[in-house]
Symmetry: D2
Subunit: 289 residues, 4 copies
C-alpha cells in the first residue's frame, strides 16, 4: 500500500514531466493551441478546408508538366508538385532534371497561376530553390537529415515535411521541431506510409497518425496516398479515408502517360483517372470535420 | 530482344497462373463476383449498409453485460460482442468466465433481442458454443490455429475471423479459405491492426487492407477500431476512416466503467462516450459507397 | 529537485515491482537460478553441451525418414525431428501424414535409437502423441494457442516451444509460463526468426534473443537456423553464430532429396550438405561458453 | 505442359537478368570476386583478420578521448571512433562538438598512433574532415542521403557506411554503390541493427546480413554491437556471434564514465568492462573463417 501510494504519486509525476517536455516543443499544440495555417500563394493550408496537391512524380519535360498543370488548374487545385531532385535507391536510376526541372515547374506553374512544391535534398540547394518553389519538400529519406532540416528552418518559405520510411511519430514531430527551432514555423506534415512486413502495398498507410499529429501539434497534416499505397487502385479509397479522418489535404501523383514515366509508373494516375478521382472526392471534402 | 519477347510471354504467363491460383480459392471474388451477405439473426452483414458491433472486452457479470446490451439496443445496433474465453499474454491475467460467460451473454442478448458474437479458442468448444452464440469469433492469436478454423468451417454458424497480429493479407485470405473449404461460407473478415515498430498506438491500423480484402474476396470486411489503436481518443476518427473507405461495419468496445475493467481498460468507452461516438458516426454511414 | 527525488524513488520502485513480477514467473531465473536440464531419452538438453536436432521438414514416407535417421545417427545426434501435422498457410498445401507420420517417425527412431521431436497442433492430439514422441513441439503459429499450451503443460513429456512469428520475447516467456504453470517444467525454448520488413531472408534471426532468454529464464534455448533464414546458404554461418552466442543447441532440416520435398524445399540440406554442415560445426561446439 | 516449358525457360531467363543487373554493380562480388581490403593507417580491414573499432559515442573533451585512446592502444586496437557531429532525434539534445571534436580526436589519436573514424553528416564538411579523420563514417540516418554518399565517393579516403535504421540489404548495397560509382572503392559496410517490433533491444541485430553482404559484395563487413542491441549486457555475446559468423570486425563504444555520458549512457562500457570484453573476445578472433 505504501508502494501503491508511491506509485500513484510517481505516475502523476512522470506524466507531468512528459507533458512539460512536449509543452516545450515549439510545434506542440500545448505551446500553441490554435491551428497553424500555412499560406502558399494565397492558398491557406490548415484553415479547415481540405486541399489537394497533385502533379507528376518526376519532372520529365515542359510538355509533360504543362499537360498536368492544365488539368490540375481545371480541377481547382492550387498546388502543383513535381520532383526535380529524385532520391533513388540505385545510382543508375533516373536522378531527376535538377535545377532545369525546377525551372520547368516554375514556368508551367506561372502559366496556370499555380504554386510549386518540389523536393530539395541538400542544404546547399535551399537558397537557389527559393526562386523557383513556393513550398520546399523534405522527403522521407531525408526526414532525419538534420542539416537539411536546419537549412530549411533558416529561410522564410513553407516546408512540407514527409514522415521517414520507418520513423516513429515522435521522431517525426522532433524533425519538425528542428525546422521550427531555426525560426521557420510554416511547416506542413505529410504522412506517407511506413515500412512494415506487409507486401500487398508498397508501404502501410498509418492513417491513425493523422489524428495523433493533429492532436500533438498545431501543424497542418496531409496524406500522400500515392507513396503510402504504391497502388493506383487504392488511391481513391485511401483518399476518402484521409478526408474522413480529418487530414488537411491529400497529395497524389498524376502523369500524362504513367506507363512511360521515368519513375514510379505503377502508382501514378493518368489524366482521365485523375479527373475521376477528383470528381469522387470533391463532394466528400469538409464534411466530417 | 529475343529475351524481351520471352520476358513478355512469361510475364503474361505468370500473371495467368497467379490469377488461376487465386481464382481457385472459394473466398475469392474471381470465384464468386457477388458480395457474400452474412445473415445474423435477421441482420444482413455485407449488404451495402454499414453496421456496428459493440460490447465489453470481457464478460464480467450479468449486470455489466445487461447495462451495455441496453445501450447497444438503444443505439439501434443488433450485434453484441463480449469475451468469455480470453486469450491473455500471461497465464495469471483474467482468463474470462468461460461457459458461464457465454450464458450471461445469451441471457442479456435475449432480453434485448440482440445477436451474440464471442470468441471461441479451442476446437472442442465450438459445438457447445453453437447454443449460445450467433457468430463464432476467431481471434487474432488463433488466425492460423488451423484445427480451430476447420472446426468452425464444419458447423452452420457465421464466423467472424480476425486478422492475425502480424499476418499478411494473403495469409488472412488463406485462413478464411480454411473455413470455407470445410463448407461454411458465412465468414466475416475483421481488420484489427498489425504489429509494427510504431509505439504511439497499440497496433497499426492497416486501413488499406479494407479495399484490398473487398477486391480480392467476396466477404464482408469490418474494422475493429478498439484493438487496432488501443486508444480511446482514436476510436472516433478511425471509425470515420473505416466507414469512408468502405468497411461493412465497425466494431468497438464499451464498458459501464472502463477504469475497473478486468482487461483492456485504457481503450474501452464508457456509456456516455459510446453514445457520443454513435451520434457522430451514424450520419456518416452509407454515404460514400 | 523535489521532483527529482520523487523520480529517483519512483524509478527504484518501478524496477522493484517489475523485478517482483518477473520473479513470480516459474520460468524466471529469479525464481530458479540454476539451469533447467531437460532429459530426452538419455540426452541432456541445457547441461552446457551444445546439441543438434535434425530431420526432414515433413514426414513423407518411411524410406525418407529412415534415410535421414541413419545419417543423423552417424553424426552422433540423438534427436530426430519431423513434421507429421503441418500447419500450412493454404488449406490446399500438403498437410502432413498425421498419426501415420508419427508412427513412421517412431519406427525409424527406434531402429536407430533416436528420440523423436514432432509438432502437435491441437490439444486433443497431445494424449495420442505421448506414445510416439519424446518431445512435443509447439510451433510458431501456435505459440499463443493457450489451450494447446495448457494441454502440453498437463502431461509429463518435454516440450519444445517455438517463438511466434512476431512474438516479443516477453510474450514468448509468458507462453512458456502457460506450460509450466500447469506443472510441466521440461520446456526447451527455440528462437526461429521473427517477421520484419527485410526480404532477403524468410524471417530475421533475432540472435540477441538467445542471451536474453538465457538471462531471463532458466530454460534451455535452441536456434532453428532453417526457418529463421529460409536459405540453405545461411544455415552454416547462422549455426556458427548460434553456437558462439551460447545457444544450447541448433535445429536444422535435412531431406534425402530437397528438390522434391513436399514442403520448404528451398531451405533443407541434402545428406552430403548435412554431413559437411556437421563436420564444420562439431569442432566449434562448447568452445565459447 | 507447354505452360510448364515456358515457365522453366522464363525462370532461367529471369534469374539470368537479375544476375546481370547485380553483376553490373561495382560493389558486387560478381564484378570483382576478390575481397576488397581497405587500408587505414597501415591497418588492413577485410584481409581475413578480425579487427576492432572502439571509442566513445560522442567526443566530450580531450581528457575523455585521451583516456579511451590510451586503453584502445593498450588493447592493440588501431581504430578509434568518436562522434563530433551527432545526429540526434531532438534539436535540444547534445549535438556534438563539431570541428572542435574532430580536432580533439585527431590530437588524441596522434598521441597514441591511432586512426580516427568519425561521422560526417553534411556534404560540405567532407573536405574539412579529410584533415582530421582516417575514415569517414556515414551514419544510419544518412544511408540514403545520396548527396552525402556522392560527396564521400568523390574523395580519396576510406568510408564506413552504416546500414539505415530500416534499410533492406538491397538498399544498403545500392547506397554503397553510390559511393563507389563516384570513384571511391574504399568502403567498409557496417550492420548496426534494424528497426522491428521487438522492444527488448534498441534495434534487432540482423546477424544474417553479415554472410549475405559478404556473399553479394566484395567489401569488408563490420558489426556495431552497441547500437544494434543498446544494452551493455549484450555486447559480449553479440560480438562473439559476429566473429563466429565471419564479420571482418566489431565496433563497440567505451566511455570513461558512461553514467555521465552526454549520449547513449546505457549502452557504453566503462574501461574495466571494455578490458574484460576484449580479453574474452581476442581468443575467439580468426578461428572460424
Amino acid at each position: 500500500t505504501l508502494q501503491h501510494i508511491f506509485k500513484e504519486i510517481f505516475k502523476a509525476n512522470l506524466e507531468l514531466q512528459e507533458d512539460d517536455h512536449r509543452k516545450a516543443l515549439l510545434v506542440s499544440r500545448k505551446k500553441k493551441p490554435d491551428n497553424t495555417i500555412v499560406m502558399v500563394k494565397g492558398e491557406a493550408i490548415g484553415d479547415g478546408s481540405q486541399r489537394f496537391i497533385a502533379g507528376p512524380c518526376a519532372v520529365e519535360s515542359y510538355e509533360q508538366v504543362a499537360e498536368v498543370a492544365k488539368v490540375v488548374k481545371q480541377q481547382g487545385i492550387k498546388l502543383l508538385r513535381g520532383g526535380a531532385y529524385k532520391p533513388r535507391t540505385s545510382p543508375y536510376d533516373f536522378q531527376g532534371l535538377g535545377l532545369e526541372g525546377l525551372k520547368i515547374l516554375k514556368q508551367a506553374a506561372d502559366e496556370y497561376d499555380l504554386a510549386v512544391i518540389s523536393e530539395i535534398v541538400t542544404p546547399g540547394d535551399i537558397e537557389t530553390a527559393l526562386d523557383y518553389v513556393d513550398v520546399i519538400q523534405i522527403g522521407a529519406r531525408n526526414m532525419q537529415n538534420f542539416e537539411l532540416l536546419k537549412a530549411a528552418g533558416s529561410v522564410n518559405k513553407p516546408v512540407l515535411l514527409k514522415r521517414g520510411l520507418a520513423a516513429t511519430i515522435d521522431e517525426f514531430i522532433n524533425a519538425a521541431e528542428y525546422i521550427m527551432s531555426k525560426g521557420n514555423g510554416q511547416i506542413i506534415l505529410c504522412e506517407r506510409g511506413i515500412r512494415t512486413y506487409e507486401r500487398a502495398t508498397r508501404n502501410t498507410l498509418d492513417i491513425s497518425a493523422v489524428p495523433i499529429l493533429k492532436k500533438e501539434t498545431h501543424l497542418p497534416v496531409l496524406v500522400d496516398v500515392t507513396h503510402s499505397t504504391g497502388r493506383r487502385d487504392l488511391l481513391l479509397p485511401t483518399a476518402k479515408a484521409a478526408l474522413a479522418i480529418g487530414a488537411d489535404g491529400v497529395m497524389a501523383e498524376v502523369h500524362p502517360d504513367p506507363a512511360v514515366a521515368l519513375s514510379d509508373s505503377a502508382q501514378q494516375m493518368n489524366i482521365p483517372q485523375f479527373n475521376e478521382f477528383m470528381s469522387k472526392l470533391k463532394p466528400l471534402c469538409n464534411r466530417n470535420l
